[in-house]
Symmetry: C2
Subunit: 335 residues, 2 copies
Amino acid sequence: MLNRKILLKSRPVGMPDESNFEWVESSVPEITDGEVLIQSIYISVDPYMRGRMSAAKSYAKPYEVGEPFMGGIVGKVLDSRNPRFEAGMYVEGRLDWAEYNVSDGSDIRKIHPGRAPISTALHVLGMPGLTAYFGLLHIGQPKEGETVVVSGASGAVGMIVGQIAKLKGCRVVGIAGSDEKCAYITDELEFDAAINYKTAGNLRGALKEACPNGVDVYFDNVGGSVTDAVMTLINFQARIIICGQISQYNLERPEMGPRVMGQLLTTSSMMKGFIVSDYAEHNKEALTQLAQWVQDGKIKYRENIVEGFENTVDAFLGLFRGDNIGKQLVKVGEE
Amino acid sequence: MLNRKILLKSRPVGMPDESNFEWVESSVPEITDGEVLIQSIYISVDPYMRGRMSAAKSYAKPYEVGEPFMGGIVGKVLDSRNPRFEAGMYVEGRLDWAEYNVSDGSDIRKIHPGRAPISTALHVLGMPGLTAYFGLLHIGQPKEGETVVVSGASGAVGMIVGQIAKLKGCRVVGIAGSDEKCAYITDELEFDAAINYKTAGNLRGALKEACPNGVDVYFDNVGGSVTDAVMTLINFQARIIICGQISQYNLERPEMGPRVMGQLLTTSSMMKGFIVSDYAEHNKEALTQLAQWVQDGKIKYRENIVEGFENTVDAFLGLFRGDNIGKQLVKVGEE
């Protein structure tokens, strides 16, 4: 049985492209005692992976050149010699970007297709959902009546952040990069307002209008000039959650910007970066809550699904073109 | 009896100078029921006052043009018609920059000359000491063996920060602006290392050498390029305390700098601004602890005292020239 796999061929300078990736074929190995053979069904492409393509020290270890790209994958167990898993089960884990993976079981978790579509293990009931949950609730601590602004608002994390903030009784303003994205978050997700930063002209003015009481919590997926504008409107004791900085990942040189320390000082505000694993001890309670909200129809989501393993890299690159509304997935096998 | 008083004459653009101040004379008013007459002995000049000279919204309300400058003053009660105070007592409070003040008692506290010199109520046992205590311990939460860096290290706040960090078992590195200041913090206060940012050349290199295990806690009084250098060396889950930004207060236009969000993100770090009053509910326990440390000789301090009410404004302006080692005070009356 043939297995296609995607390797990191070279580290990008600036925007990555297809030339940074290499496709290899090999045969699917036999599994040995304790191992599980998994067929990929959904591959998750996520902005943070851009960071791992660089050699720079970060929370996520860099990918090695010549080694497989990896990330969240939902698959089906085809064969198992591990007592915790059996053929036919669905699992999710950090696996190689390949059609088939062999796991020793330590890096995968079972998922229950009866509760929610299996693909949700890669977004609302997986890493992006947990990221939204921990960032907003543990760092942001939004209180009823406060104003929460989220950038990258129609993406995998942003769409969940805004809905949780609504559930907490906040005024929620989303920033996104197209009118279609803005319509999605206001019409379907019921955010109070949305701003298309590409057409707003005076972004600060648009934000000020959308946030007549200022900004108490800012959940930042984007960075750059969008964040500069939000920072001018923060209230006393605001909480700024740095979850992603997608506008900065592909810059060849770091960008200068307004210093934020003065604004943090005069408002007694806090800015904090994080990675979802910082809160791993709370994963279970968070997933239980998220699953309940999804089941009750209180949290909705959208998937942007591309078909075919051969389109995985392009789907990843599309994240930086702003292609996706909702969670970007690649479907590479049948359920 | 004649009373001299200093008013804000005009708002400075850039560095303030004597022309922004006005000196007026009036007679000392009679006190009425509930009031206290206080003769100023020590006037505190503090960098935060520069912020109040501007009209911009901040944690501290702007001074009004034509109204008195005000700040921390230690004085003696000359006359009292308030049952909580009597003649001969020493008090500290936020009062007008004047030789005599009348208070209704709500803005002053009694101080006990037996415990420590009365001037300490304006630094180690007053606002700067509390600022150091709350910023370092409540926000920074230093753990034994961690590395704490403090900028403005020989100033009223910095000198206390470093000593508390030493008491907590940390490696402490101070950044200051002269060799004399550096010698003071290493030789007298026993910081582990000091860096003169004006002569270091490669500040980042000097910091890296002084902090072989990186930076866990950074207590920032200064901002600008000093902070830029420290930020490149922060560890995972570092805490950056924004207490002051003296390098930025007199800029005519805000300075651009490296964006910090990426660094906060990849290290899961936190940056927080604050003002001492955010923690006012803990003032009593903090002052008790600080007084104990001073009494036990575990916290030392230095005062830089200028004599004469007529030198108050120059002493204030001297803060921005880096004149002072330790707490800058103006002595305007006899104890």
